[in-house]
C-alpha cells in the first residue's frame, strides 16, 4: 500500500502564503480529514495534490512517484481521484456520460477502432459501462442514469460528483466538502458511502469538511490547518482536546 506524503509544501500567491511548510502524511486504507476555518488552505492542499497548483517549495510523493509538478491528468492516471467542492460536472451530458468520461484512460482502443466501432471499441465500451453501472449501483443513482446533469438537484449533483471521481477507479479519493450545503438526510447518505468505500472498496480517503460532527465521527486521522499552517494533527479525540485547535476555532479565552 502506498503512502501519500506531502512534505514541507509552501504555496505562495504573490506575497501571500496560502500554505507554509505543510507536512501531511496520508496513510493507506484510512480516512484522513483536513479541517480548519475558512481560508485555512484546505482546498489548496487538495489542489496541490491533484496537480491544479504546483507548490513553490517542498515535495509531494505518492509511493515512489513525485507528484510535485504533475498535471491533473497525470495525477488522476496514477489513481488519485478528486471530487470538487463547487460542482465541476459536465452539465450538458447525462449522468451516464459523465461517468463514462471518467473511464477515459481505461478505454484503450485507438481512434481507428473508434471509427469502425464494431469489435474492440464496442467491447471495451460495454466492459466499462459495466464498471460504471457498478458505481451507479453503489451510489444509488439508478434513477438519474439518463438525466441531464444540469437538471438534477444540488444534492444529487454532489453525489454524481463523488460517483464520477469513483469511476476513475482510484486508490486514493480526495473529497472536497462532499457534504457542503446538504440536508441531514443527504449527509447521512454520503457518510454511509464514504464508510463503505473505505471498508468494501478499500479506498484511501482524504476528506475536507466543515461539519465537525461528521469529521470527528468518521475520521481515523485529522489534520488541522489555520492560515496555511498545520496547527494540530492526530486522532479525533486528541485533536478535539488540543488547545491550539480550540483557540483557532473558538478563539482565545
Amino acid at each position: 500500500m502506498t503512502h501519500l506524503i506531502v512534505s514541507d509544501v509552501t504555496l505562495t500567491f504573490g506575497g501571500l502564503d496560502a500554505l507554509s511548510h505543510v507536512d501531511i502524511t496520508i496513510e493507506p486504507g484510512i480516512i484522513t480529514s483536513i479541517i480548519g476555518p475558512n481560508g485555512a488552505g484546505k482546498t489548496s492542499v487538495l489542489n496541490c495534490i491533484s496537480g491544479f497548483y504546483h507548490p513553490s517549495q517542498g515535495t509531494i510523493r505518492y509511493g515512489n512517484r513525485n507528484l510535485t509538478h504533475a498535471s491533473p491528468h497525470q495525477v488522476s492516471n496514477i489513481g488519485i481521484a478528486r471530487a470538487f467542492q463547487n460542482l465541476e460536472l459536465f452539465r450538458g451530458l447525462s449522468v451516464l456520460d459523465n461517468l463514462l468520461l471518467a473511464r477515459h484512460q481505461h478505454l484503450t482502443y485507438s481512434i481507428f477502432h473508434a471509427l469502425i466501432y464494431f469489435g474492440k471499441a464496442s467491447r471495451l465500451e460495454a466492459e466499462n459501462r459495466a464498471y460504471v453501472e457498478k458505481v451507479i449501483d453503489f451510489m444509488e443513482l439508478e434513477l438519474y442514469r439518463k438525466s441531464m446533469v444540469g437538471n438534477l438537484s444540488y444534492g444529487i449533483q454532489k453525489r454524481v460528483e463523488v460517483a464520477r471521481a469513483l469511476t476513475l477507479g482510484p486508490k486514493l479519493l480526495l473529497l472536497d466538502e462532499p457534504m457542503a450545503g446538504m440536508n441531514i438526510e443527504e449527509k447521512e447518505d454520503i457518510v454511509r458511502f464514504i464508510l463503505d468505500l473505505k471498508k468494501e472498496w478499500g479506498i484511501t480517503i482524504v476528506l475536507v469538511e466543515h461539519d465537525l460532527g461528521v469529521v470527528m465521527d468518521i475520521s481515523d486521522q485529522i489534520y488541522v490547518l489555520d492560515f496555511g499552517v498545520v496547527i494540530g494533527s492526530g486522532k479525533p479525540k486528541d485533536v478535539a482536546s488540543d488547545r491550539t485547535v480550540i483557540e483557532a476555532y473558538i478563539g482565545e479565552e
Binding site: 473511464r103 477515459h104 465500451e125 460495454a126
Partner: protein, 364 residues
Amino acid sequence: MSSNRWLATGNYFTSYKEEQRIFTTSLDRSVMGVFLCVLFSWPLFFSIGNKYMLVVDNILVAVIAVIGLNLVTGFAGLISIGHAAFVGIGAYTVASFCRVLGDSHPLITHGWPPMIVAAGCMGALFGAVVGLPALRLKHLYLAIATLSFQMIFQWTINFMDFFDQGQTISVGRVFWVTGEVARNEHYLFWYYVILTVIVILGFGVRNLLRTRYGRCLVAVRDNDRAADAMGMHPGLVKVYAFGLAGFCAGVAGALHAYLYRGVGIDSFTLYHSINYLAMAIVGGLGTLQGAFWGPLAIRVLDLQVERLSEWAGSHVTAATNLTTALRPLSFGLVIVLFLMFEPRGIANWWRIFKSYVKLWPFRY
C-alpha cells in the same frame, strides 16, 4: 420476453451492447436505409440539369466541411473563423499536385480517391498546427488565432507564384472504371462520389461520438478543468479537435477542387469561413444532423434571394444590383434571428417534429 424490434415502446435492453446501437428500432434503421436508397437513386429517375446538380453538389461539399466545423465548434466549443482556409488547404493540396505534375497526370485523374484522402490528411496536419494555440488560449482569443490563419492563408496564396497568385489552377477530368468522366456526366458523377464520402464520414463521426474520442470533445467544451481531472489532456484534445475538423475540411476542399475542376482563392475567403460558421449555427451546433440542415438551409436561402432580386430587377431597373445588397443582408439576418430565437438550430425543429409525430394524436 418476446419483443417487437419494430416498435419504439416495449423494447428493453438486456445487454450493454444493445444499448450502444445507433438505431434503436428496426423502423429507424429501415427509414435510414430507404432514405439512403432514395438519395442514391433519384438522379436515375429525375434529371434536373447541370445547373441544379451543381447546386446539390455544392450543398453536399458544404455538408462535409460543416461536419468538421461542427466537431470543433459545436462539440468541442472552439470557435473557428478560419474554416474556409482549411477547406482551401485541401483544395490547394490537389492544386499543388496539378502545378507540379500537370493537371492531367494519371495521379490526379486516376488516383483521385487517395488524392482526396491525402488532402484530408494535409488539412488535419494544418488543423492540428493551427490548433496549437489552443494549448494556451481560450474562447475569443482562440477565435482570433484561427482568424489570423485565414488571413495568412489568403495572403500566402495571393502572393505565391507557385499558386498563380490565387488565380484559378485547373484540375483535369477524372477517370472512372468506364473511362473518362464526360462533361455532361461530370456533376452527376461527383454527386455520387460526394454522397459516398458523406455516408462514410457521417457514420465514422457518429461512431466517434459514442466513444471516448467523441466524449472528450464535449468534456473540454463543458468544463476543461474537470476534463483534466478525468485523465485527459485538455490541450491535446483541443488540438485533436482541430485536426479532426481540418481532415473533414481538407476532404471537402479536394472534392471542391475536382467538382469545379479548378482551384482559386475566391472560394476560400473569410466570407466563406463565416458562411460555414453560419451553416453550423443555423443547422444546430453540437448535433451531427445540424451539419446537414445548415448547408441546405443557407444554400436554398441564397438561391431564393437570387431569384427574388432577379424578379425585382426585371420590374424595377434601379433594383438590378439588389443581389449584392440582399445577399449579405438576408444572410446576416438569418444568423441573428437563429441566435436569438433558436440557438439550437434547425436540428431542434427536427427533434420537436419527430417527437410530435411519435406522440400524435396525443399532446404528450
